[in-house]
């Protein structure tokens, strides 16, 4: 049996990027912190470009722990939502136009979030990636790591538990 011909790469990329853009732009606080998401296949990297408004300790100076915590939490939520949406994006079941028009999927809700501050957050851009450790019908557990100049030297990590959005709408 012949395999169906793969879709042109532009079509696939356009659909994935449109879905990600709609997901991210729907959340005002992500915009407020200036956080962006870069995509390579299904892998997302969150980027928080440095801004003076992210400073917590002006003497050092250092990033505010709250900005770091928020950055990690939004990376976890978008990463988890993205993993839930992925199969629908790939199959074409997800209507990207409806998503872009504001019909966003319901987001997971945070139950608990624990942040470890490993090093001082420097006044530089920060990056983070989420790893879904467990994704069940009702609950999920996500680990996030954030770094700045060196990927091997994370400045913060977090684990969060989430209640999944109800599938029946």
């Amino acid at each position: 049996m012949a395999r169906p011909r793969p879709e042109p790469v532009q079509v696939v990329k356009q659909r994935r990027d449109a879905a990600l853009k709609a997901l991210v732009e729907g959340v005002p606080y992500i915009r407020f912190l200036g956080v962006e998401f870069e995509r390579r296949g299904d892998e997302l990297t969150a980027v928080m470009p440095f801004s003076d408004t992210l400073i917590g300790n002006p003497v050092l100076p250092a990033l505010h722990g709250g900005a770091t915590a928020a950055f990690l939490e939004m990376t976890a939520i978008i990463g988890l939502s993205w993993s839930l949406l992925w199969s629908e994006i790939e199959s074409g079941a997800l209507e990207v136009e409806a998503l872009a028009a504001g019909k966003l999927p319901r987001l997971p809700k945070t139950v608990g979030f624990t942040v470890d501050y490993l090093r001082t957050g420097l006044p530089r851009d920060a990056y983070a990636r989420a790893q879904v450790a467990r994704s069940g019908r009702r609950y999920a557990s996500v680990h996030v790591e954030a770094w700045q100049d060196n990927r091997a030297r994370p400045f913060a990590q977090a684990t969060g538990h989430f209640v999944m959005p109800r599938q029946d709408g």
């Binding site: 005002p28 606080y29 408004t53 300790n57 966003l104 608990g112 942040v115």
Partner: protein, 144 residues
């Protein structure tokens, strides 16, 4: 530490925390700083929304408020001679904060050793009886 020194320290902490750029960007207000105690407030702002469906504030904004408030409580403790940085902070969300209402965080530094300050906090909105979130954290203590 004398009462006068403690008063001076608390005034400095109020000033320091009132001037933090990120706390200012979030419109945080220092309501009270006492010996190992702090109360901060953050007004509702549509820019802080995390769930566009419901208008509920992003957990990250609540984290920022909790972290700031816990830090102020840790630094204001009479046994803590210097500034404190967060080692870890755990936040549990009991319920979504009611859209439109300000969030108030109350933190208490309940123990300080030579190197670590232990803090717990809770956050409420207009309904004082039902907490929105609770937090527990540890903070660094600098050598005197």
């Amino acid at each position: 530490m004398s009462t006068q020194d403690q008063d001076r320290k608390e005034a400095l902490i109020r000033q320091f925390f009132g001037a933090l750029p990120h706390a200012k960007a979030l419109g945080m207000e220092v309501l009270d700083v006492g010996a190992g105690q702090a109360t901060f407030a953050m007004a509702y702002d549509p820019r802080f929304i995390g769930d566009p469906d419901t208008g509920v504030i992003h957990g990250g904004a609540v984290s920022a408020l909790m972290d700031t408030c816990c830090g102020a409580a840790a630094m204001s403790h009479p046994d803590n001679p210097g500034t404190s940085a967060t080692i870890d902070l755990r936040i549990d969300y009991m319920r979504p904060a009611t859209p439109g209402q300000a969030i108030r965080a109350v933190a208490e530094c309940f123990h300080v050793t030579r190197s670590v300050a232990f803090v717990r906090a809770h956050a409420v909105d207009g309904d004082d009886a039902r907490p929105v979130a609770t937090a527990t954290g540890t903070f660094t203590v600098e050598a005197p």
